[in-house]
């Protein structure tokens, strides 16, 4: 029973690592050049602070995910891992939310502020950003589930222990 639990946990952490890593990489490699009525338009993730924050947050979360995978199972550091899980869940959730907000402005514009949508001119860039956002969203959900599972794991054995 404990072995399947450990296996499930390992699998979940691997999936979280994969999701955040792919989100960071796909967003960082999104790049498109378009020219629109003799105006050259270059769309890169660098142009928007929200996307830069998204790449940095997911990269840091991937490094953390990689380090946690190598932690031995009986170490006392697992208590710190639960606290760090909260911090990194917060980071990943805020990054996906910020990137979603800016991407929504890019796709639909904001008529009250006079901001025109840009997705029509740089379709490939928009699609790649969309893929990165989906991967980031999956990463955020897996981190949330991992946190719930960690809390359950910590609380359960304390009550089932016999001395």
């Amino acid at each position: 029973m404990a072995k399947t639990k450990r296996l499930c946990l390992l699998l979940a952490r691997l999936m979280a690592l994969g999701a955040t890593l792919s989100a960071a990489i796909v967003m960082a490699t999104s790049h498109e050049k378009a020219s629109f009525y003799a105006v050259s338009f270059e769309a890169k993730y660098d142009n928007t602070p929200a996307f830069k924050y998204f790449v940095i947050a997911n990269a840091v979360a991937s490094v953390y995910g990689l380090l946690v995978l190598f932690l031995p199972s009986k170490s006392l550091l697992w208590r710190l891992v639960i606290v760090l899980d909260v911090v990194f869940t917060m980071l990943v959730t805020s990054s996906i939310s910020a990137a979603l907000a800016i991407a929504e402005v890019g796709k639909k514009g904001n008529s009250s502020a006079g901001w025109l949508p840009i997705c029509a001119q740089v379709q490939k860039y928009c699609d790649q950003v969309k893929g990165a956002l989906i991967a980031g969203f999956i990463g955020a959900i897996i981190y949330l589930l991992l946190l719930l599972y960690s809390i359950h794991n910590v609380w359960d054995p304390l009550f089932k222990q016999n001395t």
């Binding site: 142009n47 917060m90 805020s94 990054s95 939310s97 904001n110 009250s112 910590v154 609380w155 222990q161």
Partner: protein, 199 residues
């Protein structure tokens, strides 16, 4: 059987009316977080500014148009208001439960429920803050690559109130994070096993 007895005595000790000194720290932190998130919600929800702009001149009379900036025009700010409202509701409920919830039978799950709810509120509030921060930055600096003009030079009061709401919300989020870490560390304390071992 031993664990059942241990669980019951743990809930029995929890329902004593006197609050321990550590509970006062947690309670005052929750109060401050409640005020911070409630302030952020209210200030952003009442954020509205109207400017009259001269659009054209017909003959001798200038044609004026009233342009309004309100928080509903930006979905990120709407999410910000909703997230902070839910966070302040959560804080208020936790304060009420701390004072009046001693008679409810939690079946030993009290600390776990509090930790899980705290964690979900932290995630929600951080999402709201992240989205609103970057939208505010877009409104303040614009984005030259996408040809999006900044709007803060025309709507000073709107921007100022928005940044005030953001700062209050960040303070609330930080305190919520501290509270969450404290709730989780309460779960991790070896105090629980001491009750299980007592016959």
């Amino acid at each position: 059987m031993a664990t059942q007895g241990g669980g019951k005595s743990e809930v029995g000790v929890n329902s004593s009316p006197a609050l321990k000194p550590k509970d006062w720290v947690l309670l005052s932190l929750r109060l401050v977080a409640f005020f911070a998130t409630a302030t952020a919600t209210i200030v952003m929800a009442l954020n509205k500014q109207t400017n009259t702009v001269v659009v054209a001149t017909v003959g001798n009379t200038p044609v004026k148009v009233a342009v309004t900036a309100k928080f509903q025009q930006t979905p990120a700010f709407v999410f910000f208001v909703v997230a902070n409202a839910m966070a302040s509701f959560h804080n208020w409920m936790m304060i009420v439960v701390e004072f009046y919830g001693h008679k409810i039978d939690y079946k030993g799950l009290r600390l776990a429920i509090i930790a899980i709810l705290d964690m979900m509120t932290v995630a929600l509030a951080s999402a709201g803050d992240g989205a609103a921060t970057f939208m505010a930055d877009l409104g303040k600096n614009g984005n030259s690559h996408a040809r999006w003009n900044k709007i803060c030079d025309k709507f000073h009061a709107y921007c100022d109130r928005g940044s005030g709401a953001l700062i209050a919300s960040f303070i609330g989020l930080l305190i919520l994070l501290i509270i969450n870490v404290m709730s989780i560390s309460k779960l991790l304390k070896p105090k629980h096993t001491a009750y299980i071992g007592v016959p």
